[in-house]
C-alpha cells in the first residue's frame, strides 16, 4: 500500500512540469494555431469561425470546415514577412556574436578573480534585473539620442563635431540587445570557467604553451558548453524581440516581433499575426533542439 502511495506521489511530482507545459504552453499554442487558421472579420472576437461548444457536433464540423491555410500562403507570398524573418535572424545572430565578444572576457575575468570578490561580481551582473527591463531600454534612448549622453561626451572629448545618429537605427537595436541579454551569456560561461581546473592551463604552459595558445587550446574548448548555452539563451529570445526594436529601432528596422505586434494591434489581424507566431515558433524549434542536443552531449561527457 505504502509502495503504491509512494509511486503515485512520485508520478504526481514528475507530472507537475508536464502539467505546467500543458496548461501554459500547449493549450495556448493550440488556441493560437486555431486562430491562425481563421479569417479576419469586423467582430468581437475579430476572427471567424469561432467554435461554439453549444452548437454540438454539427457546429464543430461546420467551424472546422471553414479553417484554411490562407494566412500561411499569404506569409509566403508577401516578401515583407520573409524579409522580416530573415532580418530578425540576422540581427539576432550578429547581436549574439557581439554579446559573446563582450561577455566572454567579462565571464573570464570573473572566473579568474579572487574568490572573495567573485560573489560580488556575480551580484553586479545580476543586479540590472532588479530594474524593469522597459525602463532600462528607455534609458538607452537617453544615452543614444542625438543630444544624448553619448554624443555629448564624444563632442566634449572632441572625437566628433556633429552628433552621431545612432538612435532609431539597427546599431541601436544591436546595442540594446547586447546590453539586455549580456547576463544570459555571461552566467553560463562563467559557471563553466569557474569549475574548470586551473591546473590544466598550468599544465599546458608547463608543456610549452605561451598563455595565449594555452587559452585557445585548453580554456576555450573546455568552456564551449557554456558558450553554446549562452549563445542560445541570447539568440532565441533575440529573434522574437519586440520591445528593443520598437523603442530603439527605426523605420529601417525590420524584425518579426515588431511585425507581429503591428499585425495584431494596428491592423487587428489576429489570424495573420497568429500565423506569424506559429511560423516563428517552428523556426526557433530548430535551434532549441540543437541546444538541447548539445546540453545532453555536455552532460554525457561529464559522466
Amino acid at each position: 500500500m505504502q509502495k503504491l502511495i509512494a509511486s503515485v506521489v512520485s508520478r504526481l511530482v514528475i507530472s507537475i512540469p508536464y502539467l505546467w507545459m500543458l496548461i501554459f504552453f500547449l493549450i495556448p499554442f493550440i488556441i493560437v494555431f486555431k486562430i491562425s487558421l481563421s479569417q479576419v472579420t469586423m467582430a468581437i472576437p475579430p476572427y471567424t469561425p469561432t467554435i461554439d461548444i453549444w452548437a454540438g457536433w454539427q457546429g464543430l464540423v461546420n467551424s472546422v470546415s471553414q479553417f484554411s491555410w490562407d494566412n500561411y500562403t499569404f506569409l509566403g507570398s508577401d516578401p515583407l514577412y520573409v524579409k522580416a524573418y530573415l532580418s530578425s535572424v540576422i540581427i539576432a545572430a550578429i547581436s549574439t556574436f557581439l554579446t559573446l565578444l563582450v561577455g566572454y572576457p567579462i565571464a573570464y575575468g570573473m572566473a579568474r578573480a579572487p574568490a572573495t570578490v567573485r560573489s560580488t561580481l556575480l551580484m553586479l551582473v545580476i543586479l540590472p534585473f532588479w530594474t524593469s527591463f522597459l525602463i532600462r531600454v528607455y534609458a538607452w534612448i537617453g544615452i543614444l539620442k542625438p543630444e544624448g549622453l553619448l554624443n555629448q561626451f564624444l563632442m566634449w572629448a572632441n572625437v566628433i563635431h556633429t552628433p552621431l545618429n545612432i538612435l532609431n537605427t539597427n546599431t541601436a537595436v544591436l546595442i540594446g540587445i547586447v546590453y539586455s541579454y549580456l547576463p544570459f551569456l555571461v552566467l553560463p560561461i562563467y559557471s563553466t570557467l569557474e569549475k574548470m581546473d586551473y591546473s590544466l592551463v598550468e599544465a599546458a604552459e608547463d608543456l610549452g604553451c605561451p598563455p595565449i595558445t594555452a587559452f585557445w587550446k585548453i580554456t576555450f574548448p573546455l568552456s564551449l558548453p557554456g558558450v553554446v548555452a549562452g549563445c542560445f539563451l541570447v539568440f532565441i529570445p533575440a529573434v522574437g524581440e519586440f520591445v528593443i526594436p520598437d523603442l530603439l529601432g527605426g523605420s529601417e528596422t525590420l524584425m518579426i516581433g515588431k511585425t507581429l505586434w503591428n499585425e495584431f494591434s494596428a491592423n487587428r489581424d489576429w489570424p495573420l499575426s497568429s500565423a506569424v507566431a506559429v511560423v516563428l515558433l517552428a523556426l526557433l524549434v530548430v535551434p532549441i533542439v540543437l541546444f538541447q542536443r548539445s546540453e545532453a552531449k555536455a552532460q554525457e561527457s561529464e559522466k
Binding site: D197, S199, E202, A203, D206, L207, G208, I218
Partner: protein, 381 residues
C-alpha cells in the same frame, strides 16, 4: 665498517666535492602577503638524483616545486638550473616538466593527444611525434588505450598518462607533485617501484613532493625534510631515519620514543643523561658534543628496544621496569606499549620472524625494557 642501513644504489654525488649541483636554490624566500611560504632556503640537487621534498601540508614544499616550474617567482634569492638563473623565465620556456597532483589531463583530448601536446608545441615533425607517442605509450604500458579519453581510464591509468605526457618532452628535470597521492595503497607501492625504474632508465633528475614518508623513503636518493618554509635536514633515507639531526626530524619520520633530560656525566665516547621525569638514566654513544648540565633530547626507535620478563644484567642504565599496557599486532610485527612506573608509555616493536612463540608476552605482564648504548640518538637541537 658499519653503515646506516641499506642503500638503493651506489650514487652519492653530494659526498663528492668535485660534483657540480644541477639545481640550486640560493637563499630563496617566497612570501604570499604576510605569509612566508619559503624562508631563506638553500638547497642543491644533483643530476640524475631522485630527490624528495617531504613535509606536512603548508610547509612550503609545493611552493618550492612551483617556483622551480616557473609558476611562482621567488620574492628574493635565486634558483639555478644547470648553471642558468631561472628568474624571469616563464614556465613554457623552462626545461622542466611537472606532473600535477590532479594529473591535469586535458579532458577534451585522447590519451594520444595528451601525450603529443607538449611535442606539438615544440614544432616537432608529425612522424617523430607519432613515434615518440608510441614509445611513451609502450613505456607506461597503455598501448591499447591510445584513443581513450581521460574520463574513460582508471586512476592508475590516468597517473601513467600524466607521467608519459611530462616525460615525452625529455625534460632535464621532472617535477612530481604528490604523484601517488590519488592511488590506493597496493597500487601506490607498485607504482613507486615503476617510478624508480623509469627514473633509472631515462636518467632524469626527479624532484618529488610528498607528505608520505614511506613514499619518500622508498623512492628517493635523498630527502629534504621541511617545516615552516625551512629545510630541517637533507640526507639519505637511512640517515634521516637513523641519524636525524633534530628532535623535529626524529619525531616527524617514523615512530620514536623521545626523552628530555640533562647530561650528568661525559666520559670519552659515552654520555649519561638523567631523565628525572621518567626515572631512567640513559647511557648513549657520544655522537654529538655536549657538556655536563646541558639539556638534551634522546630519541630511540621502537624496534631498537628489547622487552623481557627477565631482569637484565645491568639495571642502572638503559633499563626500566613496567607493565604491558597495550599490544598492537600488525602481522609482520607487533608494537608493545609499556607503562613505566613513572607513568610514561614506551613503544617497543618486535619483528614476528617466526610463526610460533612459546609463552608470548601478554596484557598486564610485567616486563623489563632495555636497549644498547648505540641504539638511540643523542639530540642537541
Amino acid at each position: 665498517m658499519k653503515s646506516l642501513g641499506s642503500f638503493r644504489r651506489k650514487f652519492a654525488p653530494w659526498n663528492d666535492p668535485e660534483a657540480k649541483p644541477y639545481i640550486s636554490f640560493e637563499n630563496v624566500t617566497k612570501k604570499f602577503g604576510d605569509f612566508t611560504a619559503v624562508d631563506d632556503l638553500s638547497l642543491t640537487i644533483y643530476n640524475r638524483e631522485f630527490f624528495a621534498l617531504l613535509g606536512a601540508s603548508g610547509c612550503g614544499k609545493s611552493t618550492l616545486l612551483r617556483m622551480l616550474a616557473g609558476f611562482e617567482e621567488p620574492t628574493s634569492g635565486r634558483i639555478l638550473l644547470d648553471g642558468q638563473d631561472m628568474r624571469g623565465i616563464p614556465p613554457y620556456k623552462r626545461p622542466v616538466n611537472m606532473m600535477f597532483q590532479s594529473y591535469a589531463l586535458f579532458p577534451h583530448m585522447t590519451v594520444e593527444g595528451n601525450i603529443a601536446f607538449g611535442l606539438k608545441q615544440d614544432g616537432m615533425p608529425a612522424n617523430e611525434i607519432a613515434a615518440r607517442v608510441a614509445e611513451m605509450l609502450k613505456l607506461v604500458k597503455l598501448e591499447q588505450f591510445a584513443k581513450r579519453k581521460p574520463h574513460q581510464l582508471s586512476g592508475g591509468q590516468r597517473q601513467r598518462v600524466a607521467l608519459a605526457r611530462c616525460v615525452a618532452k625529455r625534460p632535464k628535470v621532472l617535477l612530481l607533485d604528490e604523484p601517488l597521492g590519488a592511488l590506493d595503497k597496493k597500487l601506490r607501492e607498485e607504482t613507486q617501484f615503476e617510478l624508480m625504474d623509469l627514473q633509472m632508465k631515462l636518467g632524469l633528475t626527479f624532484v618529488v613532493v610528498t607528505h608520505d614518508q614511506e613514499e619518500a623513503m622508498t623512492m628517493a636518493d635523498r630527502i629534504a625534510v621541511m617545516d615552516k618554509g625551512k629545510v630541517k635536514q637533507v640526507a639519505t633515507p637511512a640517515e634521516v631515519y637513523e641519524a636525524p639531526n633534530s628532535k623535529f626530524v626524529a619525531d616527524f619520520i617514523g615512530n620514536v620514543n623521545m626523552f628530555e633530560g640533562t647530561v650528568s656525566t661525559v666520559v670519552p665516547g659515552k654520555v649519561d643523561i638523567d631523565v628525572p621525569a621518567d626515572k631512567i638514566t640513559i647511557r648513549t654513544d657520544a655522537t654529538r658534543d655536549c657538556a655536563a648540565g646541558q639539556s638534551v633530547g634522546f630519541a630511540i626507535r621502537p624496534e631498537k628496544i628489547r622487552l623481557s620478563r627477565k631482569e637484565p644484567a645491568n639495571t642502572a642504565v638503559n633499563a626500566a621496569h613496567g607493565e604491558l599496557y597495550d599490544i598492537a599486532y600488525f602481522g609482520d610485527m607487533t608494537v608493545f606499549h609499556v607503562r613505566l612506573e613513572s607513568g610514561r608509555i614506551i613503544k617497543a616493536a618486535s619483528l614476528n620472524a617466526v610463526r610460533t612463540v612459546e609463552d608470548p608476552l601478554g596484557y598486564d605482564d610485567m616486563v623489563w625494557v632495555n636497549f644498547d648504548t648505540d641504539a638511540g640518538i643523542l639530540l642537541t637541537a
